[in-house]
């Protein structure tokens, strides 16, 4: 098992003492077995899929931590566990030192829920098409009883819509009357309506065009400054992540393989997978640098390769990589899980 403790989380702790969000050894296993009868007849065993294994990180106040990875890397599963939509198989998530999954009184959990919100990828699927926008945005205000009367709710909804660049009169419309970017603004207004401190953003701009993406990313950064929000930002797009995050965790097949401050990660990536991702970024400066696309594809998470899951695709793989799983080792304030880096080979 890997242990991400100590220095690599230190960056955020320095700023405010205690990190706002603390994830410890998060693991999630999905049972993807065939039905019981089929297993008996066909003589098969249970099939377990380890979507996330031993993921630990912390996020400070008004900090953005990003998780990047390709499909199947487990980043969205982490997001859902952090926000409380999915129970971890093991490990813990604590927000402001309150454990989200420990048996606490419902009242306390309610209080905690108000402080965290989520923005999803698909703004078409995450808004109720039969509700007017003002009802959508007012829903968390009512759920957490944050306003004393309807007039105050109405006022607050208008304020929120203006905050995200819409007009208060848009509250009377239905979601289908808006474009994708405007809908994502509505989602952001809804997320802000409970006055959260922490927002989990799962690919918030992946469904949007670039010019709209720029508007939404700018808006999210402005709101972060204004309300001291903390973000857990999930994306497959390294350039977007670079723009948004102070620290970046790179995930591969359910594990964090490298966690580092954004600038250092881009200037001096350590893990071969991170190097590959950065190398695969399209080169808009058009320097014409030769590139070597990495061979192979992401292995099936049901039967991951032994040792380091990346070794079949890794140009630096040597014997230990095929045998043992590399631990996430911290150096200074960054960490990488790679035998070759440990041995000083790269």
């Amino acid at each position: 098992m890997l242990a991400v403790r100590g220095e690599c989380d230190g960056g955020s702790r320095d700023m405010s003492g205690v990190p706002l969000v603390e994830a410890r050894d998060l693991t999630r296993v999905f049972d993807v077995s065939k039905p019981w009868l089929n297993r008996v007849i066909e003589g098969e065993e249970r099939t377990l899929l380890k979507a996330v294994t031993g993921v630990s990180f912390s996020i400070g106040r008004s900090e953005t931590l990003a998780l990047v990875g390709e499909s199947g890397s487990g980043k969205s599963t982490v997001a859902r566990m952090v926000v409380g939509l999915l129970q971890p198989t093991s490990g813990s998530v604590a927000i402001d030192n309150i454990d989200m999954w420990a048996p606490v009184r419902e009242r306390e959990r309610q209080k905690l829920r108000r402080r965290l919100q989520m923005i999803f990828q698909d703004p078409f699927a995450s808004l109720n098409p039969r509700w007017r926008v003002k009802r959508i945005v007012a829903d968390p205000i009512k759920a957490f009883a944050l306003a004393k009367d309807d007039a105050e709710i109405e006022h607050r909804v208008g304020e929120l819509l203006r905050l995200v660049g819409l007009d208060p009169s848009d509250g009377d419309k239905y979601p289908h009357e808006f474009s994708g970017g405007q809908r994502q603004r509505i989602c952001i207004a809804r997320a802000l309506s409970s006055k959260p401190e922490f927002i989990v953003c799962d690919e918030p701009t992946s469904a949007l065009d670039v010019s709209v993406q720029a508007q939404i990313l700018n808006l999210m950064r402005d709101l972060q400054d204004q309300f001291r929000l903390s973000y857990l930002f999930i994306s497959h797009n390294l350039a977007v992540v670079r723009h948004m995050a102070a620290r970046i965790g790179v995930m591969y097949l359910g594990r964090i393989v490298e966690l580092a401050p954004a600038d250092e990660l881009f200037e001096n990536p350590r893990h071969p997978y991170t190097r590959m991702l950065i190398d695969a970024l399209p080169d808009l400066a058009m320097t014409g640098k030769p590139r070597k696309p990495i061979q192979g594809e992401i292995p099936n998470p049901i039967s991951p390769p032994p040792g380091c899951a990346f070794h079949p695709r890794c140009p630096h793989a040597f014997d230990p990589c095929r045998a043992t799983l590399p631990a996430l080792v911290a150096h200074d304030h960054r960490s990488a899980a790679c035998h070759a880096v440990e041995a000083g080979r790269i």
Binding site: E70, A214, R221, L281, L284, M286
Partner: protein, 329 residues
């Protein structure tokens, strides 16, 4: 200059509705030379996919080509009927779409699909065609092609399927390949592999490529020239290096500034206010003027045609001063 493989002139595509005809592609003209890669880039609704569909005669009814010309190797193909186009599709124009699953029949082995396509276009025996299919798959980077030729599409991963589709599109050695968002559904590392493959295969064969995508990064990697589309028209067309690094049209400038890059982290991304107009509410004059920081009177009144701007051409009145000499493309 030799005869272009593809010449599109003043192409107009519209959809009749109860409230009049919506013009989705409005007066698009471009040439594509043999072996050239033309990137067509734009945001959703800009008309880029529809332009590709018009070239190959695959516009969904009731949409249709209202006017303009499409010439393939000098021959006019926009007036061919369904039968005429069937002879051209696959043989002279290959296609690759975003989702490889829609291009492959899930009920047939991939080998049979490629063999059938080859034999539909070329006089070859079953055996010859099969050998050729294996060679093609190998070339497309499918390892153990001889064994895998008997597999069904669902047995391949997304990246591998796109390789199969590429082999399928090129099996009749077309002069032109239309690739509509070929890498959009793929992961970054796989995307890089497919771009490299597409580039290599088309370069070796001298196939012209019309590469339709919303991703400027893919364009920068692969295209020789690029056409930037906005609201059904080409806003700017020129050599890729110029368009990417010295964009002329205000829309292209905004678009390039809006793309986050892995280089230095900037505090803010450039932002184009507003959004692309709907088809039924295209502004008069230049369609971009309500969002344009440089708009002046003429932009609101008259619609700009392509005019030279540096080594590119831009449909923008800012470049009207040097437009008097050669307005005829």
């Amino acid at each position: 200059m030799a005869e272009p493989v593809l010449a599109v002139r003043d192409l107009k595509v519209g959809f009749p509705t109860r409230r009049g005809t919506l013009i989705a592609v409005d007066g698009v003209s471009f040439d594509l030379a043999a072996g050239e890669v033309l990137g067509v880039v734009g945001e959703s609704g800009a008309g880029k996919s529809l332009t590709g569909a018009a070239v190959i005669g695959l516009i969904e009814p009731p949409g249709r080509i209202l006017s303009g010309e499409v010439r393939l190797g000098g021959q006019r193909i926009d007036q061919f009927g369904a039968k005429g186009m069937r002879a051209i599709r696959g043989r002279r124009i290959g296609m690759v779409f975003q989702d490889p699953l829609t291009s492959l029949n899930p009920l047939y082995r991939i080998g049979d699909q490629i063999v059938e396509t080859i034999r539909a276009h070329k006089a070859m025996s079953e055996h010859e065609a099969r050998e050729r299919a294996i060679a093609l798959l190998q070339e497309a980077g499918i390892q153990g092609a001889r064994e895998r030729i008997g597999s069904y599409p669902h047995e391949f991963s997304g990246g591998m399927r796109q390789r199969v589709v590429l082999a399928l599109a090129l099996c009749a050695e077309p002069d032109l390949l239309i690739a509509d968002e070929p890498t959009t559904a793929l992961d970054v590392s796989i995307q890089a592999q497919i771009i490299a493959l597409l580039k290599r295969l088309c370069h070796e064969r001298g196939t012209a490529v019309m590469l339709i995508t919303h991703d400027m990064g893919v364009i920068a990697e692969m295209a020789d020239r690029v056409a930037v589309m906005y609201a059904g028209r080409i806003a700017e067309i020129g050599p890729v290096r110029d368009v990417v690094q010295r964009p002329r049209h205000p829309y292209t400038k905004g678009l390039m500034g809006a793309i986050p890059t892995a280089g230095q982290r900037s505090s803010r991304l450039a932002q184009i206010p507003g959004s692309m107009p709907r088809l039924n509410a295209t502004p008069a004059g230049c369609a971009f003027h309500p969002r344009c920081g440089d708009a002046f009177d003429r932009c609101r009144r008259e619609r700009p045609e392509q005019m030279p701007a540096g080594s590119s051409e831009a449909a923008c009145w800012l470049y009207a001063a040097n437009a008097t000499a050669g307005a005829a493309i």
